[in-house]
């Protein structure tokens, strides 16, 4: 209204979505204009994903209107929306793992010759899309063989194939490194300049400020308002999102205090020459009680693979492991759990949530599995435990009987964290634990990790967000090209030095 703006391509007014008894969205408005990047902001469970799904026809609103190009429109589902130029990448990557990368990208827009598929053209076009996103992978490789972050990028490539006038990205950057984010933003900007309207969800405030022109803020399913990004200071934005003021930056600044490790202490877990063909080169690592060790490295540097060897998720084919000085083979997750080693996977949907079970069942799953089926946890103990974690981690809705699939992405993540905390591990390996978690909760979780370490737990922390790793780690292991290249003290580590090591400069 303040300046000359083109008429919106998408105009949602008074949209209400109910999942009785929950009102996920209550009379929300959203205006998307051509040639803008519009951020959709809000805490976990605020209703961002629901608003997107209401637009693309996954959910049917119980009230409100949706105008597309000025005409009222109700899509019957994502395919219908896409046919009308609205492309969406949903929060949970939804591709065919057993098809190739090229097939996944070109599905639905396959080049044809003489009624058949033109495989060569398909691969060539897919490769061009991948290049634009800065991805150097073989289009003919199967998608399942790639990491989650790559899959996410492939999903984005897929969304940008063909004509689209609206591109919706629900937390596209949650598992990406700075480099990939930069590529993605470049693509987003060029699409914007071509006149595409982009809706973007992210919990990273700096990203939102870097790339968005305008934002819509939701709180508890209600609309707070629409703002021009440049006119809204970050502190005010946070206040709008959480409904009270909070200095994010300060709250997250948790001094990493470490009790002095006695000389000659036995590591809780010591691995020597542990490695696996095609996954990580043999590496040494000592993990001590009361210490947070961060893993830093680029996407595909072997961070996750290393963590998987430490926790029995994958089996090492060379090397030795010692737990408290005693030699062990970490054959599978169960064996590792027996030694008090817990692992939260980065792949929330594939390897984390059991979406058809309740919050309660998901939280007690690992603990119960450890006890065996014959010794069910007493119901009272379960209820106390579950209520405790719901409260401590702020899981919403605070209903132990809610099905996990009905929780927002960030809240599912918190449930997974609770599952592993409930087993009271001695070594907790966290692979992207704050993925998709909102600013407030993220600070809480970082604080929690620091507390756990102070209480004597050993923690391995992996995050694509380097600052986060730097902030809470006592020690940082740097990986490059599937090899551990350095180990540095967290206290003395500067961002620049770590970035240097990651990129291949500095001492190896």
């Amino acid at each position: 209204m303040t300046q000359q703006t083109p008429p919106p391509v998408v105009e949602m007014t008074g949209v209400t979505v109910e999942f009785p008894p929950v009102t996920a969205l209550d009379g929300v408005d959203l205006h998307l204009r051509p040639g803008e990047i519009h951020a959709l902001m809000g805490e976990n469970g605020a209703g961002k994903s629901t608003l997107i799904k209401a637009l693309t026809g996954v959910y049917s609103p119980t009230a409100g209107t949706i105008l597309v190009d000025g005409a009222e429109h109700r899509f019957s589902g994502p395919a219908d929306a896409r046919a009308h130029g609205i492309s969406t990448v949903y929060q949970e990557v939804n591709l065919c793992e057993n098809l190739t990368v090229a097939e996944n990208i070109m599905l639905g827009a396959e080049p044809r010759v003489l009624g058949g598929l033109n495989w060569r053209a398909m691969r060539r076009q897919a490769a061009a899309h991948l290049r634009r996103m800065g991805l150097d992978i073989d289009p003919a490789s199967s998608l399942g063989s790639h990491s989650l972050a790559v899959q996410q990028l492939v999903a984005i490539c897929r969304a940008t194939v063909g004509d689209c006038k609206v591109l919706i990205l629900d937390e596209p950057t949650s598992s990406l490194d700075a480099d990939e984010v930069a590529h993605l933003f470049a693509v987003m900007r060029s699409l914007r300049d071509e006149g595409v309207a982009i809706l973007f969800v992210s919990h990273f405030l700096d990203q939102v400020y870097e790339v968005s022109d305008r934002m819509t803020v939701l709180r508890n399913g209600g609309l707070v308002g629409e703002f021009v990004t440049a006119d809204l200071p970050a502190a005010e934005l946070v206040q709008h999102m959480i409904g009270r003021s909070m200095d994010v930056l300060e709250a997250a600044e948790e001094a990493a205090e470490r009790a002095e490790r006695p000389a000659g202490a036995t590591p809780l877990l010591q691995v020597v020459g542990l490695g696996r063909k095609g996954s990580v080169q043999p590496f040494d690592l000592d993990l001590y009680e009361g210490e947070v060790v961060g893993l830093a490295g680029l996407l595909g540097s072997g961070r996750t693979e290393l963590a998987r060897l430490l926790t029995g998720a994958d089996r090492a084919d060379v090397g030795q492991a010692r737990v408290s000085g005693r030699p062990t083979r970490l054959r599978n997750p169960r064996v590792a759990m027996g030694h008090g080693i817990a692992y939260t996977s980065e792949d929330r949907k594939g390897e984390g949530v059991v979406d058809g079970l309740t919050v309660r069942e998901n939280i007690v799953l690992a603990l119960q599995a450890e006890r065996g089926w014959m010794r069910p946890l007493p119901r009272r103990q379960v209820d106390e435990l579950v209520a405790g974690y719901i409260e401590r981690l702020g899981i919403r809705p605070a209903d132990p009987e809610a099905l996990l699939r009905n929780l927002s992405g960030g809240n599912q993540q918190k449930v997974l964290l609770a599952r592993w905390l409930a087993t009271a591990p001695r070594l907790l390996v966290l692979d992207e634990p704050t993925r998709g978690i909102d600013v407030g909760a993220k600070a809480e979780i970082q604080k929690l990790v620091a507390e756990l370490a102070a209480d004597g737990m050993s923690v391995v922390f992996i995050s694509a967000e380097l600052e986060e790793v730097l902030r809470i780690s006592h020690r940082i292991a740097v990986l490059r090209d599937r090899r551990k290249v350095a180990e540095i003290d967290g206290d003395g580590a500067s961002m620049d030095r770590v970035v240097d090591l990651i990129a291949g400069g500095g001492a190896a």
């Binding site: 008074g14 009230a63 996977s345 390897e351 599995a369 089926w373 069910p376």
Partner: protein, 352 residues
């Protein structure tokens, strides 16, 4: 009211009641139960008896389906069980001796357990698709039964063994008491221990379950073994009823009836959440349906069609999407009240 309609057992139970009503209309004395010689007699008692073997097979099938599997071999296992038991009785000097009968039962159950373990091995250790893995035994099993009976229909007289099939215990059919008893014990164990939850977790997300330390492989193996064992028991009940072991026809298509019972009971074939009480009702519906066909005098030619129609009706009513449609239609009149009052002109809204 809505809660009753939403209850997962509503449609299966409604189908059962409808069938019973149809029977009673066709034959007014249908539900009558009389006492003769201290035993209960009547159509409902017969239905319980014919439900017994199906219930056992469906019980195993439910657990297997919960882990995302399927067991097609149960019909063949039924045949093997009967063949082993009756051949042993026939070859014994005194088929009525208690020791002989117990050995026959023991041998049959042991072999069926082994067959179940075999299935479980193929699926959980070798990672063969359940439908393929159990297809092997589905076809080979009848051959095994044929070998055991020497290609003939073995018949034998053994009063103590016959009790299993057509005897009475406390006035009720022994077969029914056994089957419902086993069912109750298993259901109790599954829900009182953590077994049910761990099975469901395995069925819903195997990878997440493995990382959580669930012994998915052992669990999967166990349910196939159990399915074999329960099918073996069902085979004993069936062969004791006729006192004949027919390698070709014993338990024919019982795997399909069992799968139907599971589906009617509201357990999805995609695995995960399962529902034993639903399976119980599902088995009763199928047994009653078979009975209804004879009571209504439906020609054998159209019987399969009639069965199919009932099954389609129940499964449609079970399907989440159908339910959504139905509830959407019912909910529509109330949406107006929930609209924010301040909004000037909310356009007409339809859900679904």
């Amino acid at each position: 009211m809505r809660d009753v309609l939403r209850h997962h057992l509503f449609w299966p139970v409604a189908a059962l009641v409808a069938l019973l009503v149809a029977n009673t209309v066709a034959r007014p004395g249908f539900l009558a139960v009389t006492v003769r010689d201290g035993h209960l007699f009547g159509a409902p008692v017969d239905i319980l008896r014919t439900t017994a073997p199906l219930l056992l097979v469906a019980l195993g099938m439910t657990l297997v389906i919960a882990t995302r599997g399927i067991d097609l071999s149960v019909g063949a296992v039924v045949a093997v069980s009967g063949a082993v038991a009756l051949s042993h009785l026939a070859s014994a000097p005194d088929p009525a001796a208690p020791g002989t009968v117990l050995t026959a039962i023991g041998l049959a159950l042991a072999l069926c357990l082994v067959l179940g373990v075999w299935n479980g091995f193929l699926v959980s250790v070798l990672g063969i698709q359940p439908i393929i893995a159990t297809l092997i035994l589905m076809t080979a099993g009848r051959g095994v039964a044929m070998l055991i009976t020497g290609g003939m229909i073995t018949t034998v007289n053994s009063a103590p063994f016959k009790v299993l099939g057509s005897g009475f215990w406390l006035g009720l059919p022994t077969a029914a008491v056994l089957a419902f008893g086993v069912f109750a014990v298993v259901a109790y164990v599954v829900r009182r221990t953590a077994l049910g939850m761990l099975l469901e977790a395995t069925g819903i997300n195997p990878a997440a379950s493995r990382l959580s330390g669930v012994r998915s492989r052992t669990l999967t193996w166990t349910v196939y073994a159990a399915s074999g064992l329960f099918a073996g028991l069902a085979g004993l009940l069936i062969s004791a009823d006729t006192m004949a072991a027919d390698a070709n026809n014993a338990g024919l298509f019982i795997e399909l009836d069992a799968i139907l019972a599971v589906v009617i009971g509201g357990t999805a074939l995609s695995g995960g959440k399962f529902n034993l009480s639903g399976t119980l009702v599902g088995a009763l519906v199928i047994a009653t349906l078979e009975r209804t066909v004879t009571v209504l005098g439906i020609s054998p030619l159209v019987t399969p069609l009639f069965m199919a129609l009932v099954v389609i009706a129940v499964t449609l009513l079970q399907s989440p999407r159908m339910r959504e449609r139905l509830t959407a239609v019912r909910r529509r009149p109330t949406t107006g009240a929930q609209r924010p009052a301040a909004r000037p002109d909310p356009t007409e809204v339809t859900a679904g």
